[in-house]
Amino acid sequence: MSHEDILAGLAAIVNEVAGIPAETVQMEKSFVDDLDVDSLSMVEVVMACEDKFGVTIPDTEVKNLNTVADAVNYIAANK
């Protein structure tokens, strides 16, 4: 699965969880500061990513996922 595919999947999830337009979910964006996705929504995003991409994202890892790129790279590395 390419990084582009992961990004598209993640954008769809963020849109579903937090109502944010999928096209604004871009690699350099910060979840909290740019996209206004708070820490509780992040938990839902992470859980949906686990289901969609078949990865495990432990609580300890979630706090390191500050930008969209962090999440995409983590998923790509752990699929």
Binding site: D38, S39, L40, M42, V43, E44, V46, M47, D59, V62
Partner: protein
């Protein structure tokens, strides 16, 4: 070999009375936000809470529980002396012993009742319904008072961003009795003590006695959110399946009022029809742990949104970790 008499069982058990007590003092988000450098908007966004109630210094979990209990007994059309068992679900009773239930039974005049507390945090009320149902159908009791009560404001750290805006005070109670048809479905319940530290009062009371710091509640919010959202959907589906009802039969979904964000996430997983009312009592009540479900039930019934006989899906979940879900018919 001796054999003992098997108690005469009751064919069925159900809820026949409901009562609650909300402290008078309203505490706004603005008041709570000051010490945690937050805002009304952030609190509403984060939890759904608009305001909550705190008890007075003189009130206690037991005194509030007794008011709610007396109201439930009256609602049931019974006298306090008709009650066979008083169970109080709480973790904010001010004594390790004697139990809150002993005190509540004395305060309400339930002089014929046995009394014990249930320590299952926010799952305590649903645990209580499971136990009451079992006792009645086994023939050990005919009328049982189940109370959920908390004075969480006594154990709150007003500077803790994770909890200061969430927890509040209040009490709710039901009378569970022998009925002609079953009004409580089989409970789906469990616990996970490996996650003891997820929601815990620290320091422990022995340590607190040595260091003279108060034991206050702490919570790993995201961890608990993840657990509740990840697991309670399936627990609810299981309870519904075991009740013999479909989601479309439900009049209301009344989860423990932990956080409106948790409620919304569980509702998404459950895919409930639009016709099912979702309890949002947390908005004006805060998170009252064991009291939250009976308080929410009473609010729904008082407003006419649910009527006697309406099926409601209940789920409690919290410190332990513990959880319990069942369907009950509105008293």
């Amino acid at each position: 070999m001796s054999t003992l008499i098997t108690p005469v069982a009751h064919a069925a058990a159900g809820l026949i009375g409901l009562g609650s007590y909300r402290p008078e003092r309203i505490v706004t988000n603005d008041e709570v936000a000051v010490r945690i450098e937050s805002s009304d908007e952030w609190i509403r966004e984060r939890s759904g809470i608009i305001e909550r109630r705190y008890a007075t210094a003189e009130e206690t979990a037991a005194s509030m529980g007794a008011v709610a209990g007396a109201r439930a007994i009256k609602d049931a059309g019974l006298e306090p002396t008709d009650i066979d068992v008083v169970m109080v679900a709480t973790f904010t009773h001010r004594f390790q012993t004697p139990s809150a239930a002993a005190e509540v039974s004395h305060l309400v005049g339930a002089t014929n009742a046995s009394a014990f507390d249930i320590s299952a945090a926010c799952a305590g009320f649903c645990y209580g319904l499971a136990i009451a149902d079992s006792l009645i159908r086994a023939g050990s009791a005919t009328h049982i008072l189940v109370v959920g009560t908390e004075k969480l404001s006594d154990f709150l750290n007003p500077d803790d961003r994770g909890t200061a805006f969430i927890f509040a005070d209040g009490a709710g109670a039901v009378v569970v009795s022998a009925t002609t048809t079953q009004g409580i479905s089989p409970t789906v319940w469990g616990a996970d003590g490996s996650a003891m530290d997820a929601i815990i009062m620290e320091p422990d009371s022995v340590q607190a006695g040595i260091t003279h710091e108060p034991s206050l509640i702490t919570m790993q919010g995201q961890r608990v959110f993840r657990w509740a959202v990840g697991s309670m959907g399936d627990v609810c589906k299981d309870a519904l399946a075991k009740s013999g009802l479909q989601a479309s039969d439900l009049k209301a979904f009344v989860p423990h009022q932990a956080n409106l964000r948790i409620t919304s996430a569980i509702v998404k997983h459950l895919d409930l029809p639009e016709s099912v009312i979702i309890a949002k009592d947390i908005e004006y009540t805060g998170n009252t742990s064991a009291a939250s479900i009976p308080l929410a039930l009473d609010a729904l019934r008082s407003s006419g949104q649910i009527k006697s006989g309406d099926p409601v899906l209940l789920v409690g979940f919290g410190a332990g970790l513990t959880y319990a879900a069942q369907v009950a018919l509105t008293p």
